[in-house]
């Protein structure tokens, strides 16, 4: 499949907020309804593990199953509505120059690295560690309990008609981005993935940039 790519009409110089998130670091920020949020893959093939919470009710959060079921497709791209566990639209993807983003691969953790690669890999840095540190610093009562299955922007996890699931080389490149409009006040939580054991980051995690435009 060659996905449809949609470029943004927004100019980088008009962004109200810009920040580079280094490889292996978390990022957290509130978005107001109507704001447009972009994640820019600066050097290419970088997985960006991402969760969203309703700023008004933290029990309402991005839900992978509801999102893919409502659109009838397991991949995200322009037009995809990211839905909450209450079925409500949280954000809509409005531009995408990568073409396909993963909804099933979840986050790496110390424990899943130990199972997937070797018991000694437990001590490598992981996305769940970044998520947990961001939640601890935020100090809002959220814990591991509040880490549902996340989006992996720019990550390529194809599923075959026979049901086989694999992690493949990325389809993103330097300068590709995904952009979404907030449909409610949301908290975005990112782990810029530190995984070194599979091709999701081309074995070399790199920085991404996040940008926000006013509505």
């Amino acid at each position: 499949m060659s996905p449809e790519l949609t470029e943004s009409r927004l100019a980088v110089e008009d962004a109200a907020f810009r920040e580079v998130v280094a490889a292996g670091e978390p990022f957290m920020k509130q978005l107001e309804k109507g704001q447009v949020f972009r994640i820019l893959d600066l050097e290419g093939n970088q997985a960006v593990d991402t969760l969203f919470y309703s700023a008004r009710d933290m029990q309402e959060r991005y839900d992978a199953n509801t999102t893919i079921r409502e659109q009838g497709n397991i991949y995200l791209t322009t037009g995809s509505i990211l839905r909450s566990n209450e079925g409500k639209p949280m954000l809509t993807i409005v531009a995408d120059t990568c073409g396909r983003h993963d909804t099933l691969g979840g986050a790496c953790s110390a424990e899943s690295n130990a199972v997937r690669y070797a018991l000694e890999k437990r001590h490598m840095h992981s996305c769940r560690d970044s998520f947990l540190m961001a939640l601890a610093e935020w100090d809002n009562g959220l814990s591991k309990r509040d880490l549902p299955s996340n989006i992996n922007f720019f990550m390529n996890v194809p599923v075959t008609p026979e049901g086989e699931l694999t992690f493949e080389d990325g389809i993103s490149e330097a300068g590709r981005y995904v952009e979404m409009r907030a449909e409610m006040e949301v908290i975005v939580l990112i782990s810029n993935c530190p995984q070194l054991n599979n091709p999701c980051n081309a074995y070399n995690p790199t920085p991404v940039e996040v940008l926000v435009w006013e509505s």
């Binding site: 499949m1 029990q59 839900d63 992978a64 199953n65 509801t66 893919i68 079921r69 009838g72 497709n73 397991i74 991949y75 566990n85 209450e86 079925g87 396909r100 099933l104 691969g105 979840g106 986050a107 953790s109 424990e111 899943s112 130990a114 199972v115 997937r116 070797a118 018991l119 814990s143 591991k144 309990r145 509040d146 549902p148 299955s149 599923v159 075959t160 008609p161 026979e162 049901g163 086989e164 699931l165 694999t166 992690f167």
Partner: protein, 246 residues
């Protein structure tokens, strides 16, 4: 019929049996070394199910880790269900159905109303229309858990496959009368389930199906067990599990 070759067990090993009517919800604790057989009595059943470590409910079934570890998007005999802590909650020691859905989530109130119309308790008493989300939240509440804990669930007996472009397709008639799946518990596990219809079920009629639960003393997976040895990932997850009970 696919279900003629099902493995049997000594009746004297059976601990209990229970019928769960269609559209209802259930929860219970399954101990390490016991197995749960779930039977689709009449065909076309769906069982939305979640697992939690009974001693530490913060540890629970993890869809992504289960799929990544075994390179699969569905579950059948030989697969295991991973917790988010790299352990095996249960292993699938028997399955006559062949495909159990892991990615479609549960139905909710507005969806059930849209698909099937409204049937309220006030008029229909216990025949009122229920939905998977509220049903699971209801059971979770009995253990101090709630919406925050309703993570991506299994849908036993249902098949949703993908084409090369990722489009999801619900397979009608995936499960036949008498199909069973055996879940052999490797940890002390809280099981919560709903027998509401699958959220992608194409039927326009509210018609959830009954299931039978049978629990027996199966023992845990041995050194030669096919679930344990299906892949190196499963072997490591069993090591982690056995360390917990060492």
């Amino acid at each position: 019929m696919s279900n003629t070759a099902v493995t049997t067990f000594e009746p004297s090993l059976v601990l209990w049996e229970e019928r769960v009517p269609g559209g209802t919800h259930w929860s219970g604790v399954l101990r390490r070394g016991n197995a749960l057989r779930v039977a689709d009595i009449g065909g076309g059943a769906n069982v939305s199910m979640l697992f939690y470590n009974y001693e530490d409910k913060l540890e629970r079934y993890n869809m992504a880790d289960t799929l990544k570890g075994q390179h699969t998007v569905y579950l059948t005999k030989g697969h295991v269900c991973y917790s988010d802590m790299g352990r095996v909650l249960c292993s699938i020691s028997e399955d006559t159905c062949g495909w159990h859905d892991t990615i479609s989530g549960v139905s909710n109130a507005s969806q059930v109303r849209r698909k099937y119309g409204q049937a309220r308790y006030q008029e229909h008493r216990n025949g009122y229309y229920r939905n998977g989300f509220d049903s699971l939240v209801n059971e979770l509440g009995k253990y101090g858990l709630g919406k925050r804990d309703l993570v991506a669930n299994l849908n036993l007996f249902s098949k949703v496959s993908m084409d090369d472009d990722g489009n999801m397709r619900f397979q009608e008639g995936n499960s036949s009368a008498g199909d069973v799946i055996d879940l052999r518990f490797e940890m002390n596990t809280l099981v919560v389930l709903s027998t509401c219809q699958h959220p992608l079920d194409k039927g326009s009629k509210y018609d959830p199906k009954d299931i039978d639960l049978t629990v027996w003393r199966s023992g845990t997976a041995g050194v030669e067990d096919p679930c344990r040895n299906a892949c190196a990932e499963n072997q490591r997850a069993f090591i982690n599990t056995e360390r917990l009970f060492a």
